[in-house]
Structures are given as structure tokens and as C-alpha cells.
Amino acid sequence: MWLGVVKAGDILEVIWVSIVAAVLVSGAFSFVVLGSARSAEARRNGHTRGAVLYGGLAAVAMLAFLALVVVGLQIMLSKD
């Protein structure tokens, strides 16, 4: 379907891709913050297992966040 000169499909794709990307970026980094905070708290309270688990959550979330950053860089480099 065309809205004048622009495909409605293109706009819908921009909308859903952007919202999904925004939620992933924000969610991933929020889990980094949550994991780091809980890990530090658990370490202070002497809960080694909790500290390791939340530290792992923060590390995985950080990797996901950095992967999204790399995807962004890839998009910049592959512009034509």
C-alpha cells in the first residue's frame, strides 16, 4: 500500500524495527545496571553465590548491549 509517494510498509517497518531496537538497547543496559547493583549488594552481604549469579547477569546483558552497538556500527559502515 502506498501513502502518496512512500510505501506504508516501509514506514511500518521503520516503526517496529525502531521500537524493538529501542527496547532491546534500554532493556539490555538496564539489566547491566541491575546485575551490577545486586551483585555488589550480595558481595557486601557475604552472599557469594548471589554475587556470582548477578555478576553473570550483568556480564551477559553487557555483551548483548555491546552486540547491539556493534550492529549499529555495522549499519554505519555498510551505508550505500
Binding site: 521503520v14 524495527v17 531496537a21 529501542a22 532491546l24 538497547v25 547493583a37 545486586r38 549499519i75
Partner: protein, 366 residues
Amino acid sequence: MGNDVVLWIVVGTALAFDFTNGFHDTANAVATSISTRAMAPRVAVTLAAGLNFVGAFLSLAVAATIASGIVDPDLITLPIVFSGLVGAIAWNLLTWYFGLPSSSSHALIGGVVGAAFAAEGPKAVFGDGLIEKVMIPALVAPVLAFIAAAVAIVVAYRIVGRQHPGTVSRGFRLGQIISGSLFSLAHGTNDAQKTMGIIFLALIANGNLSTSDSVPTWVVISAASAIALGTYVGGWRIIRTMGSRIIKMDPAQGFAAQGVGAAVILSASHVGFPLSTTHVISGAIMGAGAAKRISAVRWGVAGNIVVAWVLTLPAAAVVGAVTYGVTRLFGDGAAGPVVVAAALVSALAWIFGRRALSGRPLTAEG
């Protein structure tokens, strides 16, 4: 070879536009970081300037030239390009003076459209191109960024909700350094391209290069340097508007606005629907504020910004058209552009000279 005097005036004016583009758009990358104290102001603009410089070298896709598909390229001459640049510079300086973020790309398109219209009449302007490349993106960008940032900040608050505020703020401040850097890099790849494209076209129009040539290294370096210098100087009035006058933001909102802004711009770029960085980050800041509390957004300031967006294209077009008319008063040679360029430089020297003499900082920092 064509007229080398006009060519070098166009090159100089294009670099001046590039400077105002960086100067005007510094706020897009650094306003939230400065506002939430993720970075000291001078550190933030230095980082943004460096990354804009690097970004200019990442992609040389000059095929995506500004105003292509909007004006008839066969009718474009050096005086039209010059007049369009003057229109864009004038609008960038006016909106900077009032501290209003507006799209430099739309200002440039408006300037070129106005000059082309004055020179060749309506046949030089493609209405469909204007709707597709300016009007629809201008409607989509802020609304999409607003919604995406609102969703993102709700997600962020849900995830970190019960943690100690100090720890959360420190975490998101670190995230802002990454998201702000990504934003600056993206800005360098997008916006320095416009100036490179214009200089490249001018060199082709003047007979110095052919379309099959690659962009000369001096063009890339000078465009990268001009946008980086403009970014470093910093349009502090706009930084203040975006950083603290739209909403009073916390680091989570700052991160959400910047992260969402980068995500939306790159997602749209990936889909092939480029959006204005200014419209996106402004919409994202408003969305991040409104999701917390509707009244947190100063809607009067937001309204002024929207008015500036609506006026960007027609205002730059009028200045571009008038400039073209003035250059033609002096005939078809170099006299017109020389006189207008001299008048422009004199006016800027007078304005900034008065500021310097009165002891006020040239860039209104602080």
C-alpha cells in the same frame, strides 16, 4: 573549467555550512550527557568533535547527495548551490540564537529548493521528493522517537526500579558515554557527507571532476575538520534547551533518550528511511520525560521547537530565493556571489565582533 572564483566561494560557503551544522547539532549528542553530569561539558564536546571527525571517514556514500530527488539536478548551477547554502546558514544561526534545535538537513534542502525555484521556476522542484524526503520523515521521526523513548524508559524503570538511586544513576551515566559516542559517530557519517556531496557536485559542475571520479582526499579532510570544529565550539544555547529546558532529566532518562535516539536513527537508516537526528533526539527527550509524568515536559518549549521545525524549510527557502535574486542583480559572473559572500562575512564579523568587544563569550557558553 568553469568559473573558479564562484567554485571556491561555494567550497568556502559549504565548509561554513558544515561548521554551523556541527555547531548547531552538538546538542544532539551531548546535551543529555551534560545535563545528567555523565560527562563534563568540555569533555563531552571534545569527544563528540573527535567522533564526528572519525565518523566522516567511515562512509563516503556521496551518491546519497542532499536534495537529490527533490530538485532537478540538470538545472542546478553553482549560484543556486551557493544561495541554498546561504539560506541554510542563515536559518542555522537564527535558530541557534533562539536556542532552538532544528534540522540542518532540512534547512539545506529548503535553501536549495528556494534558490532553484527562484532560478528556474516550479519545474526545478519535485513535489513528490519533498513529501517523501522531508515532510513524511519530519512527521514520523519525533513521534516515533517519542513513543520508543517512552516505552524504553518504562522498561528501564521496571527493571531497575527498586535499586538504590545513586547506583542506578552511576550505571546509566556510564551507559550515556557509550550511547552518546555512537550518536556522534552516526552524526559524523551522515552530516559531513552532505558537505562532501555539495563540494563534489560543485567540482563536477565546474568541470574539475567527472561523476566517475572519487571524492578528493582534501574534500573529505576539510569537511570532517569543519564539522568537528563546529561541534567542538558547541552551540551552547541549544545544548541548554535540549539538556534542561525541555525536561529536567535523570541519568536513566538521559540514557533512554540517547540510546533510543541512536537505535531509531540506525534502524531507520538500515531500513532505508533516514531521519533527522535533531527531530529524533528531541522527540526522544520529550518521550522519556512524558512517560514519567506528562507535566514533566515543558510543553511551551516543546511547542516553540515544533514551530521552528515547521518553519525550517520555508524560511530557508525564502532566504535561498532572495539570495539568488541578489546574486543575479550583478549578472551571471562571479560578482554576485562575491558581493553576497562579502556581505555575509561582514555581517557575521559585526555580530560576533560586538559580542567579543562587549566581553560576552562568542558561543554563549555557560
